[in-house]
């Protein structure tokens, strides 16, 4: 579920970085206010624990495929939402830096998709409301399952929106959603099960760990602040991303064009006609544009990719030549002839 740089545009990457950066700053402020020195090494070690636990693959029953732990939920349970989010964000950063698992520009998106929805939405609004400080295994399991599914569904949906807004992939909304959501439903159930299992084990072996975590964690995230953050992010996304809106017909219009030859259905009948005229008079953003005379004709749609045949052939030859030149430059720049890693492996 880690997004790659190759699939996003600078606008989407930048916007998501702004949101995640704000969340990091806010969480850091809250962690500093708590002033719990013990949390400093604990966050580091738990981050390393999540990292290590993610390296262990287990098989999922009845599917034959393998999965690994996500971690946002268990971190929130042990550390609270703010420290949990910081820890998960740090894990994602190290994964992006060391393993290229998720791009650097896409890191903001990944922090939102995998950190925000689990730590700030699923944990306080679902898990804590249901399980609280309860020691009943069934309650914890229910809470973890619901929270796990919710967190992952929201995260997967965010991936779809971000990819679509970037416009690099051709996948239409419906197909992408139908692919992502069911898979992440299964992943969410597994995540919830594993989280509940680990939480129960810790509760039975060392209940004081969970007890102290419960006391220090703040009483849930303010709904107003969550809504404000969402509102700001939405406004930013709408403003910045609408510039990149495609002129081509959307999925529904495209399929209608293919089946009926028209992009929009015209319907007869007096009621329809009456409502239509009312709509025309009241809509102040017809077709998502300010009211303007439509000067662009149907031919303008094809001008968008604007590739000329002669240019293309020259581009191909030139491109291959450029690659060759770059490779030769690389060879020339090599200082020594060492090509293997063996020098790092000497005992």
């Amino acid at each position: 579920m880690h997004m790659a740089d190759a699939l996003i545009s600078p606008a989407v990457g930048g916007a998501m970085w702004a949101v995640s950066g704000g969340l990091i700053a806010y969480s850091a402020k809250k962690v500093r206010e708590e002033a719990d020195d013990r949390k400093v090494p604990l966050m580091g070690v738990l981050g390393a624990f999540i990292f290590a636990a993610q390296m262990i693959n287990f098989s999922i029953p009845a599917t034959g495929s393998s999965g690994h732990l996500g971690g946002g939920m268990i971190l929130s349970i042990l550390l609270g939402p703010y420290a949990g989010f910081l820890t998960l964000a740090s894990v994602l950063t190290i994964q992006a830096l060391f393993f290229a698992d998720g791009g650097l520009l896409a890191l903001g998106c990944n922090m939102l998709n995998m950190g925000f929805f689990t730590c700030f939405i699923a944990y306080p609004l679902i898990h804590r409301r249901i399980a609280g400080n309860s020691t009943d295994g069934k309650r914890i399991m229910t809470a973890a399952l619901l929270a796990g599914v919710a967190g992952l569904q929201l995260g997967a949906f965010a991936v779809v929106i971000e990819t679509l807004a970037s416009g690099i992939s051709e996948l239409p909304f419906r197909t992408f959603v139908l692919l992502m959501q069911p898979i992440h439903l299964a992943i969410g159930l597994v995540e919830g099960t594993v989280t509940a299992g680990i939480a129960t084990l810790v509760m039975n072996a060392r209940p004081e760990i969970l007890a102290t975590a419960g006391q220090e964690a703040p009483a849930g995230v303010s709904v107003k602040k969550t809504l404000l953050t969402f509102g700001a992010a939405a406004a930013l996304a709408a403003g910045a991303l609408s510039w990149f809106a495609s002129a081509d017909p959307d999925g529904l219009e495209w399929s209608m064009l293919k089946t009926s030859g028209k992009e929009e259905l015209e319907s007869g009948g007096r009621l329809h006609g009456l409502l239509d005229s009312v709509q025309k008079r009241t809509a102040f953003l017809p077709d998502y544009n300010f009211r303007k005379a439509e000067t662009a004709g149907p031919g303008a749609g094809q001008a968008w990719p604007a590739v000329d045949k002669g240019t293309s052939a020259a581009g191909l030859i030139g491109g291959l030549l450029t690659l060759l030149l770059a490779w030769i430059a690389g060879l020339a720049l090599r200082r020594r002839g060492v090509k293997s890693l063996s020098r790092y492996n000497r005992p």
Partner: protein, 270 residues
């Protein structure tokens, strides 16, 4: 070697590479970080059918790998390892976008194939540049650079601690999984139940370790404030590095040099 041990070895290799001693290694981390960020943003800013225009950008990761004396095969292998997500989304493009855009002699190439190629090129460029950056700089230097740029201190400290304890906990996890594998007869794969037990006990050990680390810090005078030593400074070389590469990226973004080169070549041939 099981997968946990293999990944821990990977961490050690990247750290060893960052300890190299080329002029590029000695450059301030902020310069390398800024140049790489400019690179990534420029590469992903191209429209979806760009293929030839992206080619000159190969120069940057090639430069980093060659001048930094990094093993190219190792970096390419790591890049390949993380390609599945980008590939699995991009592979739909040729199926969905069949409008012919380019004609090479008799063959018509659809937009979908062009955009898939563009995705793969972008992926190779951004991932190799990012890996080369980390192999040249190391996580500690990157954290210090981030802190100088105003990243909140708790987050930078968290990154450093995480980096410090990664290999320790990965080692623990490796030992636990190997012990399980050696004791399982026919069952090769780990089920969820077993994983929960292993992860749960790993968590308990991690919490105990954190408690020991905290007490050790207190014994050494920890008062809540982490102090970081930094000896980096921005000099003429750093400024030159960033402005030169920035200018090159702008040039490559605004003109399509391979097309010009191709025209030149075809004219010479004719």
């Amino acid at each position: 070697m099981n997968s946990v041990a293999a990944k821990s070895f990977d961490l050690g290799t990247m750290d060893a590479l960052a300890a190299g001693n080329t002029p590029l290694h000695r450059l301030d981390a902020r310069a390398k970080l800024l140049a790489t960020i400019l690179f990534i943003v420029t590469v992903v800013s191209f429209e979806k059918y760009s293929v030839s225009a992206l080619m000159p950008f190969v120069l940057y990761p090639v430069f980093l790998i060659a001048a930094g004396d990094l093993p190219a095969g190792y970096i390419l292998k790591k890049a390949l390892w993380v390609s599945p997500f980008a590939l699995s989304v991009g592979i739909f493009n040729p199926l969905l976008d069949r409008r012919i855009i380019l004609n090479l002699g008799e063959f018509g190439i659809s937009g979908g194939w062009l955009s898939l190629t563009s995705i793969l090129i972008r992926f190779a460029l951004t991932v190799s540049a990012a890996l080369a950056l980390v192999a040249l700089t190391g996580v500690n230097a990157i954290c210090e650079a981030l802190m100088k740029w105003g990243v909140p201190r708790p987050f930078a400290v968290q990154l450093l601690f995480l980096n410090r304890f990664l290999s320790v906990l990965a080692g623990e996890a490796g030992r636990m999984t190997r012990a399980r594998a050696l004791r399982g007869f026919r069952k090769r794969k780990m089920g969820i139940g077993t994983f929960v037990q292993i992860a749960g006990h790993l968590l308990l050990r991690a919490v105990d370790r954190a408690e020991r680390v905290y007490r050790a810090m207190l014994c050494r005078g920890f008062d809540g404030r982490i102090r970081l030593a930094g000896d980096s400074h921005i000099g003429g070389r750093e400024v030159f590095f960033v402005t030169a590469w920035g200018a090159l990226f702008a040039l490559f973004r605004l003109t399509n040099l391979p097309v010009e080169l191709g025209y030149l070549l075809t004219r010479i041939i004719e």
